[in-house]
């Protein structure tokens, strides 16, 4: 296999990884700040994907355009969910949180099954099969757009947390819950806001994901797991970390698939996860916790 093949695979891996990173971004925010083990993460993304699909098939609205509106819808959904249901669970033991989100996941998956049926739904944009040819490398257009959107959203989120007052307040809550209370921050409202932000990220990711893959009701769990792997690898609470984790996983899986049996490529992702958990649990860009 020539260099061209390796290049193609590597580029594809990086682009895919960026989109995975966007997907994991929402979890990084939610898990990193609110500390809720959101095992319904993939299901939330499915909801966003279905919204994108329906908007496209009914009104021919391109997902790239719908990115912000769908993110806004998910923002509201996330806020309501956190304030209404999840808030009391933040201080509860992990297995309680876990059960809550598992129950939510079951409800969401089966509601989607009833509403939309089991068949895969897809968004067929006019550029769905376009590709750019750069030397020996053929770059998938849709993936490139989605990856670009991922970078933009991440940068925006990073800027938000770094430079805005609210962003700083949220980071304060994450760093020191008690301290934040003492200083007078309305922690509950900030938590709800953060969850909403995370949900908005998931919304953006889902919208972009429709450019790349089809949505079925049962899509969620696989992505939830992937999101956790990426977030832990990249570092909890770190925005660039989520992207880097995504790229690392995407690239590794792609190259592993090329060199070994593709059906076993997920093992490498889990292998990396185990190594990170053992030797650098804060992840690549995470801050060392006490």
């Amino acid at each position: 296999m020539g260099v061209g093949v390796y290049l193609n695979v590597a580029v594809a891996g990086v682009l895919t990884g960026l989109v995975y990173g966007l997907m994991a971004l929402g979890l990084s925010v939610i898990f990193g700040v609110v500390r809720v083990v959101n095992f319904a993460h993939g299901e939330m993304m499915s909801i966003a994907m279905y919204i994108a699909v329906v908007l496209f098939s009914s009104f021919h609205l391109d997902p790239l355009v719908m990115l912000v509106p769908i993110a806004a819808v998910m923002f509201v959904f996330g806020y309501a969910l956190q304030a209404g249901l999840i808030n009391p669970f933040i201080t509860r033991p992990e297995h309680s949180q876990f059960l809550l989100v598992v129950a939510l996941a079951i409800i969401i998956v089966n509601a989607l099954l009833i509403i939309f049926g089991p068949d895969a739904r897809t968004v067929q944009t006019s550029y769905a099969y376009d590709s750019f040819e750069i030397g020996p490398v053929i770059v998938d257009a849709s993936k490139a757009y989605a990856a670009a959107a991922a970078i933009v959203v991440t940068a925006a989120l990073f800027a938000f947390f770094r430079f805005t007052l609210i962003g700083k307040a949220i980071r304060a809550c994450a760093d020191n819950y008690t301290g934040a209370l003492v200083v007078g921050l309305n922690v509950n409202r900030l938590y709800a806001l953060t969850f909403a932000l995370g949900a908005a990220c998931v919304g953006a990711a889902g919208t972009m994901m429709t450019l790349i893959t089809d949505v079925t009701p049962a899509l969620g769990p696989g992505y939830t797991l992937l999101a956790f792997v990426i977030v832990i690898t990249g570092g909890l609470g770190s925005m660039p970390g989520a992207l880097i984790g995504g790229v690392l996983i995407g690239l590794t899986e792609a190259l592993a698939g090329l060199l070994f049996t593709p059906s076993a490529k997920s093992m490498f992702a889990f292998g990396i996860l185990v190594l990170v958990l053992l030797f650098r649990p804060q992840g690549i860009l995470g801050r060392r916790l006490v």
Partner: protein, 337 residues
């Protein structure tokens, strides 16, 4: 014998003892009262009660959240199954081979986690990673037929062959019932032993326990290994009851989740929680199916939504699980819980 029973039931109020004995009597008599459908449902309930109890040892007693417990059941299923199909070795001997392997697997996971300070949610995710590793690994292992599935030869015998675990529904029912009773007794003995008190200390506050001189590493390892070993029998039962194994299903994360719903709903760390949880969950699932069918609602997915809503209600309203609440109602609340 009487002395043993006395030791076991020491501390149980008279009312609790009567209720427990009553339940056991009903369960023993079930094959005569219930039809085969109900018996099958009971087998599933007891299977989940058994695995829930085994998981509870690690979580409820030692406070380690394992979300990948299916790996122990999977090892317990595949090892005896391979020995049976290739070498004709009976399941009980196969179990003797499976237990050390499962315990060793638990030891590896425990060692890696505890030595490197992986705890809480991170530990849970580590367990998921191992289970997924096993799933994909077995999907490529030719000795177990990889993803094509391992089928055990089924012999329709007129009589029950307990040695080879082949026989009627009733036989399987009593096997799993005996196992569940065993798990319950084991849990109680463990809880009241010296190790049990160390576990409680670790669960409540690990640093304080260490400060008090408890070798937390050693006892956490014991918890994981015992839990793994006990879970492996569930795999043996599963393999010989269903007679077909697919890595995709056996090691799947949904199996791990299924195992832990019972104890969480019933009450983590309680003795009776996992058993109650199993009854409630499976009973609920089947009742909703029957009710929906009886009302003429034919909508795939509707049952799961009801199920999810009920789970939600329980976890919101009864954060400690159903058993503590029920125990208080029945007036048999355990001492200090």
């Amino acid at each position: 014998m009487a002395a043993m029973i006395a030791r076991l039931t020491d501390g149980l109020s008279r009312r609790a003892f009567v209720l427990l004995a009553g339940l056991l009597a009903v369960l023993l008599a079930a094959p005569w009262i219930a039809n085969d459908y109900l018996l099958t449902v009971l087998i599933v309930i007891l299977y989940l009660a058994y695995t829930g109890q085994a998981w509870n040892i690690m979580m409820g007693f030692a406070g380690q959240l394992s979300l990948g417990h299916a790996i122990y059941a999977g090892l317990g299923a595949y090892i005896p199954a391979v020995l049976f199909t290739r070498l004709g070795i009976g399941p009980w001997i196969g179990l003797l081979a499976a237990i050390p392997v499962a315990a060793a697997c638990g030891a590896i996971i425990g060692f890696l986690a505890f030595r490197f300070g992986v705890a809480g949610v991170y530990f849970a995710i580590l367990t998921i990673a191992f289970a997924e590793f096993a799933r994909i690994g077995f999907d490529h292992l030719t000795i177990v037929n990889a993803s094509a599935g391992l089928f055990l030869p089924v012999a329709q015998l007129a009589h029950n062959d307990l040695w080879r675990l082949r026989g009627s529904l009733t036989m399987f029912y009593y096997v799993i019932l005996a196992a569940t009773v065993f798990a319950l007794i084991l849990s109680r003995l463990l809880l009241r032993s010296r190790m049990g008190y160390f576990w409680l200390a670790i669960r409540e506050d690990e640093q304080a326990a260490r400060a008090a001189g408890v070798d937390t590493f050693r006892y956490k390892m014991y918890a994981v290994m015992i839990s793994a070993a006990v879970t492996s029998f569930a795999g043996v039962f599963y393999a010989f009851f269903y007679n077909n194994l697919f890595p995709e299903q056996v090691f799947n994360i949904s199996r791990s989740i299924e195992m832990i719903l019972g104890p969480i709903i019933g009450g983590v760390g309680t003795l009776f929680g996992p058993i109650l949880g199993a009854f409630v969950l499976t009973g609920l699932a089947e009742s909703v199916t029957s009710a929906l069918a009886a009302f003429g609602v034919d909508l795939p997915g509707a049952k799961q939504i009801f199920y999810g809503i009920c789970l939600l209600l329980v976890v919101v309203a009864l954060p400690e699980g159903i058993w503590p609440w029920l125990a208080r109602r029945l007036g048999i609340a355990e001492r200090g819980r």
